[in-house]
């Protein structure tokens, strides 16, 4: 199996995730789409590691996972906090920072 198949799949998933970020209005779903994009890039890292024959790509993918876990914790805490004060999980609502 040629690793370019995995790269194409990861590009497809990345594009779908980007579409989700742009289209959806629910903050949690937008956040999950960002996670999907991170996972797609991880798949590309793993496939490139195999293509080049060294493990550096896998190590980078591992660090991406750690950073993504930290990001999820803080991001979801922010979403919960905004929901508490505005009673809404829509990303159109928090416009206080606009002015």
């Amino acid at each position: 199996m040629n690793p370019s198949n995995y790269i194409v799949l990861s590009a497809l998933l990345f594009g779908i995730g980007a579409m989700g970020v742009l289209v959806r209005r629910n903050a949690i779903v937008v956040f999950m789409s960002v996670e999907l994009m991170l996972n797609a890039s991880n798949l590309a890292f793993v496939a490139f590691a195999r293509m080049h024959g060294n493990l550096d790509g896998q190590v980078v993918a591992f660090f991406v996972m750690v950073v993504a876990a930290a990001e999820v914790v803080v991001g979801l805490a922010i979403i919960v906090q905004i929901f508490r004060s505005r009673r809404s999980a829509s990303i159109d609502e928090p416009n206080l920072l606009k002015y």
Partner: protein
């Protein structure tokens, strides 16, 4: 350098099954109306990706994917959906005109460019394979450990600082301060009776209806069902039992006898 076998039929089957499942999950994630369904589709994508990692000579990352993503991160998402509410579905009102269609168009263009560009430029390149790199340290996990604790040691240490910062940040953000003093009983009572809502109890589910199940709406004196009698989460999920108009007529006839 060991070259991958050009056609490995077992891996091809795994790839095509998991590729279809992951793309299906991704589409389900962005098209589901309810956030809970999106999260479950997301879990499908994550598990398929874990299988693909393992098929890609990365068993350690596959396991980490299952434990960290489908285990911890998706649970966190589901908990937050529980806190924010099951009815937090998307509004369909566009704040920017034509944003949805522009976004879909641009997303498709991005997919097209990435797939076409990467696919055509990488198509003929043979893979070096990881057998040699894995054998060097006696396996995939020792190989990754060797890299993390030598070349990437500084990054690894910075990562631990990041995790502690994230944990503290989440604790600070989740901590709730009382901005106003707690309302007294007198204030609560005034708010209840001077407000716009009916101050009394709501009707119980099943009153004057044929069933007394919790999803059966109570019937008003004119026979029409009232959704006020159904608990909020059931209403949000759309789990309200339909009221048969024949039952209403039967009750009316029984009353008139």
């Amino acid at each position: 350098m060991i070259i991958d076998t050009p056609t490995n039929s077992g891996e091809a089957i795994v790839f095509w099954v998991c590729a279809v499942l992951s793309v299906l999950g991704a589409f389900g994630l962005i098209t589901s109306r309810k956030a809970v369904h999106s999260a479950l589709w997301m879990a499908l994508t994550m598990i398929s990706l874990a299988v693909l990692y393992i098929a890609n000579a990365a068993p350690f990352l596959g396991m980490v994917q299952v434990i960290v993503y489908t285990g911890a991160v998706m649970m966190l998402f589901l908990f937050v959906i529980m806190v924010v509410g099951v009815d937090a579905s998307d509004s369909l009102i566009e704040t920017i005109k034509g944003q949805r269609w522009t976004a879909i168009l641009l997303g498709l263009a991005l997919i097209l460019i990435l797939v076409w560009g990467l696919g055509s430029s990488l198509a003929g390149i043979p893979a070096a394979g990881l057998e040699l790199a894995n054998r060097e340290d006696g396996g995939n996990v020792p190989g990754i450990a060797h890299l993390i604790f030598t070349d990437y040691l500084v990054v690894f240490e910075v990562t631990s600082a990041l995790l502690i910062t994230a944990a503290l940040g989440a604790m600070v953000l989740a901590h709730r301060e009382h901005w106003k003093p707690k309302p007294t009983q007198e204030e609560l009572s005034k708010a209840r009776f001077l407000g716009t809502e009916h101050p009394g109890n709501r009707p119980n589910p099943g009153i004057y209806a044929r069933h007394n199940a919790v999803d059966t709406p109570a019937l008003l004196p004119d026979g029409s069902p009232t959704e006020l009698s159904i608990p909020g989460p059931l209403r949000a999920r759309g789990d309200v039992a339909p009221v048969d108009i024949k039952d209403v007529h039967a009750i009316e006839e029984a009353d008139s006898l």
